[in-house]
Amino acid sequence: MKSPLSQPLPAEGKESTNTGLLKLELIASGINLGEGLPSPLTNPFGLIHLILPEGVSVSVQQASDKQQTPFTLLHHGKRFFLNFSGKETPVQWVPPLKCYHKKTRSGILISDILTVHSGLIAVHPKGPCRFGLSGLACRYCGSSRELSNHPPFSKQDLIEAIQTVLKETSCDVVHLSSGHVETEDGGIVWLTPWVTEIRKHIDILISLDLAPPKSNSWIDQSYAMGVDAVYYDLGDFAPHQVTGNKKSEEDKKRYLETIEYAARIFPKGAVLSHLVIGLEPMGDTQKGIDLLVERGVVPLLVYFPPSPHSPLSERWKMKPEEVTPLYTHLFERLVQVKNTPHWVHQQDVLLTPLEGRFFSEKSAGFHLALKKFYETGFGRKVRRSMIGIRRRLRVKHHPAGYR
């Protein structure tokens, strides 16, 4: 089946709005619904999946009573439009995946196992991810402190679920999270059987969300066993801040050592770290971006409002147009240090580093061409093969007792 991303947008009604800013605004303020929209409109997690001009993918929540949003989703015939500032911008609505309502052979709903974010399959973790622990609801996996109680599922269920999704749509990456762990290995031991099972049955890239492990050999282990990308986050999401708390400083030191080492082991652009923006002064976030980019890591800037009940909602003050310089800075720094901004080339709940191009004067021609190539069936195969060959070359297995 064709990916919705490869389907062309309506040609007429070409808008002059900055698509990057439009995506940010939509993420921040949600959307109102016009009359007569199809049903079901949202996926089981309450997100409406749209494709904006230039093929930019976004998942939007319906605006709550508290939110005031200028955006309304309309449709005339088979065409969909975003109405804002008195004009209509053509968009594409992607119907929610039918497979969400299917069940595995053991009777578990696929929507209880995973969420699909345009090309990325996020597997629901066993417990809240570190992002979910922060008080924010993680839109990757739907986890938070008040974890939505997904029923436990087996490896077989997961494989079935992924295979069912792949029958319906094209995806590049399966993303697994170790949840909040404080083990020596950073969660890799717990995830190993899952990774092994996916590797055994499905030809797809695998990314993991892990805690910084106590020793670098666990990073080697994760790469060797078939992990293609890793996300290492700090609990407080502020790697550049020194809190004065001794434990936090130790954690930060270990975190920096980890990401620096991982960036040497994994392919360019495949070591990532989330940075929440909008909760601290911009200068601090910029320092955080520089600190990560210098170490070969790709920061993913996370900008969306905490839930109204979260204590963090009071601190969240930045408007979308105020944070765009951070995206510009990120994109330009990555290009400058020759890192790859397109490992995450489609992500509908945040602006990818490559989407920082909408605010920059710098050309993104090469990276866009590569992104387009990787979105084709052949491109996907080439990408996976290249990544696989690199691993075959770089990993050396030694007999027991080596070192």
Binding site: V123, H124, P125, K126, P152, F153, S154, K155, L158, D185, I188, V189, W190, T192, P193, W194, T196, S215, S217, W218, D220, Q221, Y223, A224, M225, R264, I265, R390, L393, R394, V395, K396, H397, H398, P399, A400, G401, Y402, R403
Partner: protein, 488 residues
């Protein structure tokens, strides 16, 4: 996700990620493939190339196969055993001889002799008899550091008389590690720690050439000699030929070790205590061990007195059958402890050398390129000995025999030399390596302890190599004529 028990992820320490630039990684991992292609092209090209004058088509092709096997052996492009197999299949592919003839070399007597010897060594190891003999010999050190070095050297040497030197080294290494730890030596620490490991390794090297049981080199050399149509050397003949060299080298090794490495320890009381403890742990000698001891001694006597009459391999295989009849070992233990690859390598090497010799290729090579430059038999002997000793430091000693012997045997006729001179020279010199870890498993195991570094061993190793060459020449000059091996 369900709360399943995570499986054992293995020890992460056994994985290494090569972070060098990818082109360098590709080159280091796959550099062999272009070489394989080049070698394949040489084989293909030589198939259609007319031979040089004076050499038959079969001789030329067998020479090309031989040279390719040399390259594979010297640069370790393939495991030795696999090169041995290639040496068997390449001649039929090149139309030198039929497949039936090629594979028949695997049925040669030396191959089965080696097989039997390897199985006997495995039985000695597995039963614990070799450890018992080692501990019995080591017990006599009497708290003196010098005496302990002498005992380790002597034990390793004597055990290498009856089992392959790599098996002796593998058996003694854990014991020497325990002794060095008891004396509170750490890797790269005191000089005496290095001395212990070198004594073990050099003892194996020196003792390994004393009999046909010390390694596969001598049986391989005898096999090549036999395939070339010469009367083979017997078990006792070999030992008589090299015993003066072994005795001289044994005492030289002790002197070189104690001169080159400082003895920085007052007493080895702790080592004695551990040895005594180990002896006590072993308990009384078991019936299986007694039987094995009798069987080993019986086999050695049979090789000495009936080796020529009923065949070395016959005795060897008979010993193996008796081992199983009396349930001294089981097959599973053998599978783990016998280096089957060596047998494959010998089969291929014997076959290849026979082909090179029978097609006249080796004679042509010698007459065309070597004889014009060699003026006397002694010059030839000296050069062969030096070449063998240099090569054996970098290449497996069996591979050195397989490389040099077929060609060198052709010299014998040209200089009116007894073929035994060439065989004894190469088979003994190829076992005398003291410095580099890739030379022989005994040296490699000593390095694996991390107590040794090449630069610390180089001078002492050079001294031993020089002495080995001198003793070899002196023995050839004064001792071999007494045994009837004449050098004009």
């Amino acid at each position: 996700m369900s709360n399943t028990t995570p499986r054992d992820t293995g020890n992460p320490m056994n994985i290494e990620i090569d972070t060098r630039p990818l082109p360098i990684v590709i080159l280091s991992r796959w550099w062999r493939f272009p070489v394989y292609l080049l070698l394949g092209w040489i084989l293909y090209h030589s198939y259609f190339t007319p031979p040089p004058s004076g050499l038959s088509v079969e001789g030329f092709r067998s020479l090309v196969v031989f040279l390719i096997c040399l390259i594979l052996w010297v640069f370790h492009l393939l495991p030795l055993a696999i090169t041995g197999l290639f040496a068997l299949v390449a001649p039929p592919l090149m139309g030198v001889l039929s497949a039936k003839q090629a594979f028949s070399f695997f049925g040669s007597e030396p191959v089965f002799f080696i097989l039997g010897v390897l199985i006997l060594a495995a039985a000695l190891l597995k039963s614990g008899l070799s450890s018992r003999i080692a501990l019995f010999l080591l017990r006599q050190s009497g708290h003196s550091p010098k005496r302990l070095i002498f005992q380790i050297l002597l034990t390793a040497s004597l055990l290498s008389f009856i089992m392959s030197e790599h098996a002796v080294a593998a058996m003694m290494l854990p014991l020497v590690v325990v002794i060095s730890k008891a004396l509170e030596f750490v890797p790269k620490g005191g000089s005496y720690g290095r001395l212990l490991f070198l004594a073990m390794a050099w003892g194996c090297v020196v003792g390994g050439i004393a009999t046909m049981l010390g390694g596969g080199r001598v049986p391989l050399a005898v096999g090549i000699m036999q395939e070339a149509g010469h009367t083979p050397i017997t078990f006792i003949e070999w030992t008589l030929t090299v015993i003066p060299i072994v005795i001289l080298l044994f005492f030289s090794a002790y002197l070189v070790l104690t001169r080159f490495f400082k003895i920085d320890v007052e007493s080895v009381y702790e080592a004695d205590r551990i040895i005594s403890e180990r002896v006590r742990e072993l308990g009384r000698i078991r019936l299986e061990e007694q039987f094995l001891l009798v069987l080993t001694m019986g086999a050695i006597l049979a090789w000495i007195f009936w080796g020529t009459k009923i065949g070395m391999a016959t005795i060897s295989i008979l010993v193996v059958v008796l081992l199983f009849m009396f349930k001294v070992v089981d097959w599973k233990a053998l599978e783990e402890n016998v280096e089957w690859g060596i047998v494959l390598m010998y089969g291929g090497a014997i076959g290849l050398s026979s082909i090179v010799s029978s097609t006249g290729a080796s004679r042509w090579l010698v007459e065309t390129y070597v004889i014009p430059h060699i003026t006397s038999p002694w010059m030839l002997i000296g050069l062969i000995a030096i070449l063998t000793m240099v090569l054996t430091e970098a290449v497996s000693n069996s591979a050195v025999v397989a490389m040099l012997l077929p060609i060198s045997l052709s010299f014998a006729g040209s200089f009116h030399l007894d073929p035994k001179v060439i065989v004894c020279l190469i088979a003994s010199a190829s076992g005398l390596n003291y410095t580099l870890p890739m030379s022989t498993p005994a040296i490699a195991l000593a390095y694996s302890s991390r107590y040794l570094r090449v630069k610390e061993v180089v001078l002492a190793g050079l001294a031993m190599t020089s002495l080995s060459w001198i003793f070899l020449m002196l023995t050839a000059k004064f001792w071999w004529p007494i045994l009837g091996i004449q050098i004009p």
